[in-house]
Subunit: 292 residues, 2 copies
């Protein structure tokens, strides 16, 4: 069994980005600049945004954190979006989700200039990605593709099962894996909550990408020998023995499945850190596209 | 075996559109207006565009055919696109493909205003469709969905195999079939030229959508009893006994597969006529969205 070490790989990618940023600085040019909009004080969101800002600093990007009150009106948030869209010193920005319930999340995401949409959530980016044009690929599926690529996992002609059809993970990774690309050309099945006989599908798959959000759902009796398992699940499960009061669980019963798998990602330390690295990669890409 | 009669169903849909157009006329409002851009004199393209124009007239749309010389420059074609984009009396238009080799097809398609892109080929429409927002759905996959819907074919939890990953048929129908929608919620596998053991997949599938372009590829030994088969293939095969010099063949060996299938579309008379009906439906939709 080979552990697909997302932490290690993400550090390698960040080091590469850092080098590129140093070269940009040496030429006396403006370094990439990422902004993050955070509305309210949700604990998990604060952690995620904090990690993103720290990673920006690490690679030498300029970063701006825009903290807004939980009771900001939708109109005022949209005004903020317009300010960011017209800021020429900014290459990309993200709006941390979820937003408070009184704000229409979709409306906000659609207001983001697709050229600054480094999260890749805007329909224009989603469409461009699907049609194999230059696009910002959402960071999580992008991270999966990159991890498979770095470990040289064969995907061409393999049967890949994606479990979960969310717009930010399951759907886009199912598209990417079946495209003519590195870490692509797989025969892809997309399964979801309405799927029957899931175990029959998981047992056939050469590659399984779990993006369901149900802790330890995939058990060892559900997979074949030497399967490659990518675990996108990150669920906080209450654990009184842990100082934090919770532990992070993936969608895979790692302890047992790892005994049968050929390749497997751990949680944490798998796709999570890759996601942040790919957000940085998208921001660097935005900087380069803006130059040209 | 139930024949999925696309011709009959397309006529029903056209009659419904015709009624809606009559009501628009009665209110003294402008009827939907579709334009088609045809570059050069390709035989098949002339036939397709001719059918589209006749269908427009049938349902009471205004239609405009813009015929351009084969040697038109890319710049002049793009100018024509800009004129169409800014024409407020026009609800939608299509550019008949293929374009002559000296013109960048992608560049032309990207220049079409996504609000007038009734073919649904623009990335913004593709992305909006994928993310389940209001969008123009490409006419062929839209026709498949509608045909399944009209015949009340159960799709929820069924295993649907799509063969072919083109941007205008295979890819979008694979997305649509797995979404939470009528004629959706299927577990979808997308197979293509790199797929191994295709027969194993076709034998498992409850619904098979063939969009490969290889005449009579799917044979009866490849399918299980009571399968639902949708044949998108339209290939002209030389036939000296036919007055036209060719016959139209689908991707399915209809004669044999129809003996085992529960449902099957014929070629011609299946998805082909549905495609034109859905182009009209998209144009009517464009008219309605433009009003609001």
């Amino acid at each position: 069994m080979i552990l697909l070490d997302g932490k290690k790989t993400s550090i390698e990618i960040k080091e590469e980005i850092k080098k590129t940023v140093s070269a940009i600085k040496l030429k006396g040019e403006r370094v990439p600049h990422l902004a993050a909009v955070l509305v309210g004080n949700d604990g998990a969101s604060l952690t995620y945004v904090g990690n993103k800002v720290r990673s920006c600093e690490y690679v030498g990007f300029k970063s701006t954190l825009i903290k807004l009150e939980n009771n900001i009106s939708e109109i005022d948030l949209l005004k903020q979006i317009q300010i960011l869209n017209s800021d020429n010193t900014l290459d990309g920005y993200i709006v941390q989700l979820p937003l408070p319930k009184h704000i229409d999340e979709q409306k906000v995401l659609l207001a983001i200039d697709s050229k600054k949409d480094v999260d890749g959530f805007h329909p224009e980016n989603f469409g461009r990605m699907s049609l194999e044009l230059d696009a910002f690929v959402p960071a999580t599926p992008y991270g999966i593709i990159k991890l498979l690529e770095r470990y040289k996992i064969p995907t061409d002609g393999k049967h890949c099962l994606v479990v979960g059809r969310s717009n930010i993970v399951g759907r886009p990774i199912s598209i990417l894996m079946s495209q003519k690309r590195i870490s692509g050309n797989a025969t892809v099945t997309l399964a979801h909550s309405r799927t029957k006989n899931l175990k029959k599908l998981t047992k056939q798959a050469d590659i399984i990408i779990m993006a369901l959000g149900i802790p330890e759902f995939l058990t060892s009796d559900m997979v074949k020998d030497d399967v490659c398992v990518i675990d996108v699940g990150i669920t906080r499960v209450v654990d009184k023995n842990n100082p934090k009061g919770y532990v992070i669980k993936g969608d895979v019963d790692f302890k047992e499945v790892s005994k049968k798998a050929g390749y497997i990602t751990p949680v944490p330390g798998g796709i999570g850190p890759m996601t942040i690295a790919m957000l940085l990669q998208n921001t660097l890409q935005a900087r380069q596209w803006n130059l040209s």
